[in-house]
Symmetry: C2
Subunit: 181 residues, 2 copies
Amino acid sequence: MSEGTPIGAGPGSPARVLGVDPGLAVTGWAVIEAGTPRPRLVASGVLRTRAREERSVRLHAITEGIAARIATHAPREVAIEQQFVAENVRSAMAIGEARAAAMIAAAAAGLPVHTYAPTVVKESVAGYGGAPKEQVREMVVLELALAEAPSPLDVSDAIAIALTRLAEARFDARLRASGRP
Amino acid sequence: MSEGTPIGAGPGSPARVLGVDPGLAVTGWAVIEAGTPRPRLVASGVLRTRAREERSVRLHAITEGIAARIATHAPREVAIEQQFVAENVRSAMAIGEARAAAMIAAAAAGLPVHTYAPTVVKESVAGYGGAPKEQVREMVVLELALAEAPSPLDVSDAIAIALTRLAEARFDARLRASGRP
């Protein structure tokens, strides 16, 4: 199995991953496709919700927005950032709410969800778990050979999350190909 | 306007509230209808999800379960318990996730969501914000003249949350009827 082909990807059906950096106000998303010599950025953007809307309406909008991107770009898997650190209990609950909105859209489409802590994403993409977001963005630009830097940082974060999942899938595939469990 | 008729309730269309006590493993729910001399319990129960399922699948099951109760019992409003206290950041995020699953179902049905802290619910139903769940259950049994006590406690909590919303709506209606803003 070539390095650019994650588990389960057959000829003519390149593996696509939807990466999501969930937030109540701004949710970054990106669809990445496995490929050689490098993965390809299929589409990316942000979902924004308005602070004057009810929280339930904002969360529902995130679920609907992610569901629409899944319908359009047909990813096989969804990778979501899963923070475990928050300033306080209230902000932790808000983080959990936005994350749930994205997870529910994935589950509704029958897609597996992989979650990664921010430090894991930074380690995977920038080689250092404490890398600043700007450095993650630079590495994402290099990795995908992008003509310009994704903006805002929520988008480069979503790309990095998807790339982390692709890298993990390649690693799993290599382990499997080598006959180790 | 009679005391048993909340805002917006016309003849032949008694106001119904769906109360939800969200939890990843067990979500209590109850539909209450305004009425004189007392509100009526229309239906209640719990949604359970399996710990061996993916978290995204469990959250989606909560959304679907609440959506199904809304479709069956046609409440006008949804009242959800909103905790602001958690043991740690991780459990706070889990609380937020389950709450989001219920809120998303309400928003998808176009229903307004009211949230109440547990102390507010206890104050409203049992007259004391520090009341234990068993006492809340006793008061719920008296308030609705139930033949037997709801079980598990997630159900009596959900009933109490719905009753809190009904009481608030009655209070609002009385204020409005008196001409005060």
